[in-house]
Structures are given as C-alpha cells and as structure tokens.
C-alpha cells in the first residue's frame, strides 16, 4: 500500500491508519470467508486486536503487512470457532486459495490506479450505479427499487459492469492471467 514503510508515531496516527485500511482489510477477509456478515465480524475482531497490540507494532515497518497478517490469523481463529455449516469454504479450498499476504497486497495495490482509469471509461449510468453500490453502500435491493427493476436484473447489470472493469484492468495490466489447468 502507498503508506508502506511509513512509521507510526502518535496514537492518533494509528487511528487514521486503521481507519484508512478498513476497506482493504474487509476485501482481504471477504476473499477468505466469502460471506459479508462473517467478514464484518472478523473485521471487528481484527480491529480490536490491532488496537490491543499497537504497542507491538514495529516502528518503521509496514503497517499494512502487519495488519493483514493479523487479519489472516483472525480468519483462522474464526474458522476454528465458527460452526462449520456457516463457513462457505471447506478447509481444503481455504488452503488452496491461500496466498502470501505480501503478494496479495501488492497485487491489489497495482490494480487501484488502473481501476481508477477504467472507472473513468465507464458510461455515466454505469459509473453512477457502481458509485451507489460501493461509495454509498446501497444494497442491490435498494438500487433495484429506485431503478424500478427487479433485484436479479440489477444484480446482472452490476455483474456486467464488473466484468467490463475486469477486462479493462486485465488489458491495461498488460498480462493475460494464466489459467493453467
């Protein structure tokens, strides 16, 4: 992340850091749990640990790397304590999806500036829909209602926009993702 290697000084600074990293932590956790509610619950637990362990944070090291490592442990703790039936992924799939946190973080870091350009290229209507969904946190149900469409139709529209964004990012990153079998 951009604030890598920045050292943390005053406690206020850490609040800002923790607050800033929330969307990334959420995304990171969601990838592993595939469930919004559970991801938010683990995000809360992660925040508490980040606060509790702030003293152990090594000044001068990467805050993001530290935070993602803690999030990873919290996901594991959650998987242990939570009822199996609520977990989306089996242990096997969870392990198969696991990546080095560093790699994963820098991969997303790379995508952000590219994605910004791709968002600019969307049609106004499409961009507005994405903004309402992400920036304003509106649910698909709420969006559907205000657009006068069905929930499924709205979900499909979002899917199409996401695919377009995905194609745009892939093209600009200049590397076809390798889908080996």
């Amino acid at each position: 992340m951009s604030e890598q290697n920045e050292s943390y000084g005053a406690p206020e600074e850490l609040v800002v850091q923790i607050t800033t990293i929330q969307p990334r932590l959420y995304g990171f956790i969601l990838k592993r749990l595939a469930d919004h509610e559970q991801a938010l619950e683990v995000l809360q637990n992660t925040n508490l640990v980040l606060c509790r362990k702030a003293g152990e944070f090594q000044k001068g090291s990467s805050f993001a790397a530290w935070a993602f490592t803690i999030a990873k442990f919290q996901v594991m703790a959650w998987r242990k304590s939570e009822n199996r039936s609520r977990l989306v992924f089996t242990d096997e799939v969870h392990e198969l999806l696991d990546r080095e946190a560093d790699e994963e973080v820098s991969d997303v870091d790379r995508r952000i500036p590219v994605l910004k350009r791709c968002l600019e290229r969307l049609r106004e209507q499409e961009r507005s829909l994405i903004q309402r969904r992400y920036r304003d946190g509106e649910t698909v149900q709420a969006l559907a209602q205000s657009l006068g469409k069905t929930v499924d139709a709205t979900g499909m529209r979002l899917l199409r926009i996401r695919k377009r964004l995905g194609d745009c990012i892939r093209a600009r990153l200049g590397q076809e993702v390798e889908y080996g079998v």
Partner: protein, 473 residues
C-alpha cells in the same frame, strides 16, 4: 474451464459480493473452486478487483463497519473530555469511542432543546424512575425530557421518580416526585410541591428557591425542602446556612437557620421541627445507591422487568439493577470486555476469570420506534464484562438475576443485542444493528438501540457486570 462454468463462477462471485449468495450457491462455489485452479485464479482476480473498488469507494465498508450516522453528527472541535484522557499508546480506538460518546451528547443536546423556548440555564443530568405529567399551562412535551436536555423556562410536573438538575453556576438540585415546580429567570426555582435537595458551590451562593410559603436563599452548601400540596414548607439545613423569608410576613421576619436545624412554615407561622437527612428527603431514588454516576439520553433506572410491556410514546432503555457482590465461580464468556465500538455481538471476545466479584445490571430495551434510541450510562465502578447474546444471558440469569424479576424464558426468540448484518435491512437499505461503545476507563457505555422493524416482538438486552466492592449477603 468450460465457458458455461466461467459464467457460472462469475455469477456466483457477483452474488457473493452483493451479499446475495444462498447456501446452495455457496456449496456450488466451493465445489467449483475445489476442482479447478483456473476457477481459483478467476475468483482471486475478481475479488482483488472488488477489494480495489472498495479501496477507491470506501463509503460502503465504512457505513457497515463504522457508524454511518456519526458523519452527520458534528464533532466538537476541541472536546474538553478527550483532553483529560490519558493517551496511552494502545488506545487509539478509545479516542474514537470517546468522540462517539461526545457526539451522542452533542446530538442529545441539540435535539432536545426546543428551538424557540428560552433556556432556564438548568440541565437535566439524571432521571431515575421518572414519569412526567401532562402539563396544564404549556404544551411543552414533558414526556420527552431526557437526561442531558437543557430545560426551558416554565412549569414542570413530575408524577414520580427523581431528577437531578444542574445550573450553569454549578448548583445541583435533586427533586423527587410527585412534584410541581417552575423554572424562572435567573436560575431561580419555584417549588409548588414535592421534595428538593439543593447543593450549592461557593460560586452559586445566593441561590434562591421559592415555595408558596417562603423564599429560601442559600448562604452555603446544602439544604432540603419538603413542600406539601397545600404549600406547607419544611426547610432542612443539611450543611451550612440558609436565609428564610416567610411569604406571609411583611418582610421583617427574615431569619437564618443553620446546619442540623429545620423549621416548618404554614398558616400557623414558623415552628421548629425535627431535621431530616438528605437521604430521608430523597429516598429511595438516588443514583449512587445503584452504583451509577450519570445518565444521559433515553435511559432510566427501573426496579422491575416487564418483558410483556410495550410502553407507548417514550422509548426508554431501562437499567434494571440486579444482584450485587456476586462472586464469579467459573469463568464467564463475555461478548464485550474491552474498550471499543461494537456493532456485532456474536463472537465471545473475552473471558471473565473466576474469583472476580461483580455487581450486575440488566439493560432492557423494547424496540418499537424506527428511530434509534440513544443513551449514555456512567457506572461508579469499571465494567468487567458485558453479555449481549441470548444464550449467554440465559446462562447467567440465575447467577446474577434477582428472584423477584421475571426473566424471559427460551420461548422468546429474540433476546440480546442485534448484530450488524441481521438479515433485515433497515431504511435506505442499511443493515440494522445495535451499537455499544465502551469507554477507555470502562465506566461509561454509550448505547444506540435500534428497533428491528421486520421482527415483531422481541427485545434488546445486555447484561453488564461491574467490579464490586460489596460482599454478597
């Protein structure tokens, strides 16, 4: 990977990020990811993009992980309270928590002051078991008076309970209902009937209370008044000196009485009586008796628990005092045990060790309105554990509850706090949840309780355990 499978995966993942994945679809997603490395690569690419989108437009995550309404509440530029908090390194979050407590205070102050009513300079600092009465002279909505509210000039009628008022100059006045009083210009109270105790700091010397029979001027620190319906006035000097001016006289009968003395003024004139203590005047409703220091917002102390009752009009968070000085014999799982802002209550986050001696309180809220109800409670002793999950409440009812209270049995489906992500979205599609903030010193909790309008019946409860100094009888 066949193209139909790619499409299926994309659909499943899109549903996942839109929070619409069914259990069957979740199982299908797991199967697809298990069998194909390509599917896993696609999944990670899609969710990396999702994470990047969340980073660019973080609003949605903040609104579900932090308090979306906080943004609408203007934070004071330099809150005095935060300056007093020790700034230990690990407590960044407590700063946020304190800001929220202050924000709630600011919210209450702003929302409860009637815009055009002239302020009396008095603020309601506590209300215990209070029932306000409809007002004859003004249309003032007395029923909505909440701790923290600035009171306007005018008449007030207290059917029952005890309130505590604080004036700008520091004078503190407790009034026990039934009582009728009027707040007049210049920080002056007229007590028509009821019991009152005034504690006056030096800066407020000369504080005046009038009754139908007398004008009482404080000349130093604490006095009590008891005024009957007919106006008969008893003056008790608890500490210091007061000057009394009988209304019936010609102004020449001004006299002073001092500490430990009392007199009665009525149609028979002025007579000495047996002095009463502060406790006798305000019994039985004093906040500190319950181990509480301050209430703000829609909170009140209630000594009974009626789970069936659905109060109309006012929505209160009831504080029901339970057993005191209970020794914890086996470790207890706590939903909340450290300072922070909580909107999820499912995971037990801490363990209260055996050997701790605690006082117990049950906070009870029967949600009826769509608007969130807010309150701040300051306890005299630090909070060591809170339990907001139905099974944890049930498991501790017997140990900490009072035999005289009627606890809900397991037939009540909804008990405990509502976690974020309850499946019923509230207005604007935002998820509905209760919110609890525990302050850094662990003595203050701030609550925001929401009604889950999609669920008929049910109520929000959380049990709060504070460190006890008492030994159970």
């Amino acid at each position: 990977m066949a193209s139909e499978q790619v499409q299926e995966l994309e659909l499943l993942v899109s549903r996942l990020v839109d929070q619409r994945l069914s259990p069957a679809e979740a199982a299908r997603l797991n199967a697809l990811l298990l069998e194909s490395p390509e599917a896993r690569a696609r999944y990670q690419e899609f969710l990396d993009n999702h994470e990047a989108l969340c980073a660019i437009y973080p609003g949605g995550v903040y609104s579900s992980s932090l308090d979306s309404e906080l943004a609408e509440v203007e934070l004071p530029a330099a809150p005095k309270q935060t300056a007093q908090l020790p700034r230990s390194a690990w407590l960044q979050w407590a700063g946020v928590a304190a800001a929220i407590v202050i924000a709630v205070g600011a919210f209450i102050e702003r929302s409860d002051v009637a815009p055009r009513a002239e302020s009396s300079g008095a603020r309601l600092v506590a209300a215990v078991d209070v029932v306000w009465q409809g007002n004859s002279r003004t249309e003032a909505p007395n029923a909505s008076l909440l701790p923290g509210a600035a009171l306007s000039l005018g008449d007030f009628a207290l059917a029952e309970g005890t309130i505590e008022l604080e004036f700008g100059d520091g004078a503190r006045v407790s009034i026990q209902g039934p009582a009728k009083f009027e707040l007049r210009n210049g920080g002056h109270i007229h007590l028509e009937s009821g019991n009152l105790v005034a504690r006056i700091p030096e800066e407020a010397l000369g504080f005046v209370v009038t009754t139908p029979e007398a004008e009482v001027v404080d000349l130093g620190t604490e006095f009590g008044l008891s005024v009957s319906e007919g106006g008969r006035t008893d003056v008790h000097v608890i500490d210091g000196l007061v000057e009394v001016l009988p209304v019936r006289g010609d102004g020449e009968e001004r006299f002073q009485i001092s500490e430990g003395d009392a007199c009665r003024l009525d149609h028979q004139g002025v007579n000495g009586i047996e002095p009463a203590t502060r406790e006798a005047l305000l019994e039985p409703h004093r906040l500190d008796r319950y181990g509480l220091e301050l209430l703000r917002g829609a909170v009140r102390v209630k000594e009974d628990l009626d789970v069936e009752a659905q109060t109309s009009g006012q929505h209160w968070i009831d504080i029901v005092p339970e057993r005191r000085g209970v020794l914890v014999e086996t470790p207890i799982e706590a939903t909340i045990d450290s300072p922070g802002v909580y909107r999820r209550f499912r995971t037990p986050l801490g363990l209260l060790p055996a050997g701790t001696r605690v006082d117990s309180y049950l906070l009870h809220f029967r949600p009826t309105a769509a608007e969130p109800v807010r309150g701040v409670i300051k306890f005299a002793a630090p909070i060591v554990a809170m339990m907001g999950r139905a099974d944890r409440l049930e498991a501790t009812d017997r140990r900490f509850g009072l035999g005289s209270l009627d606890y809900p049995d397991e037939t009540w489906r909804f008990r405990g706090l509502e976690s974020l992500g309850s499946r019923t979205p509230g207005q604007n599609g935002y998820p509905v949840s209760d919110e609890v903030t525990l302050s850094q010193d662990r003595r203050t909790i701030s609550l925001k309780m929401r009604a889950n309008i999609a669920v008929e019946g049910g109520f929000d409860q959380v049990r709060v355990l504070t460190l006890s100094e008492e030994v159970e009888e």
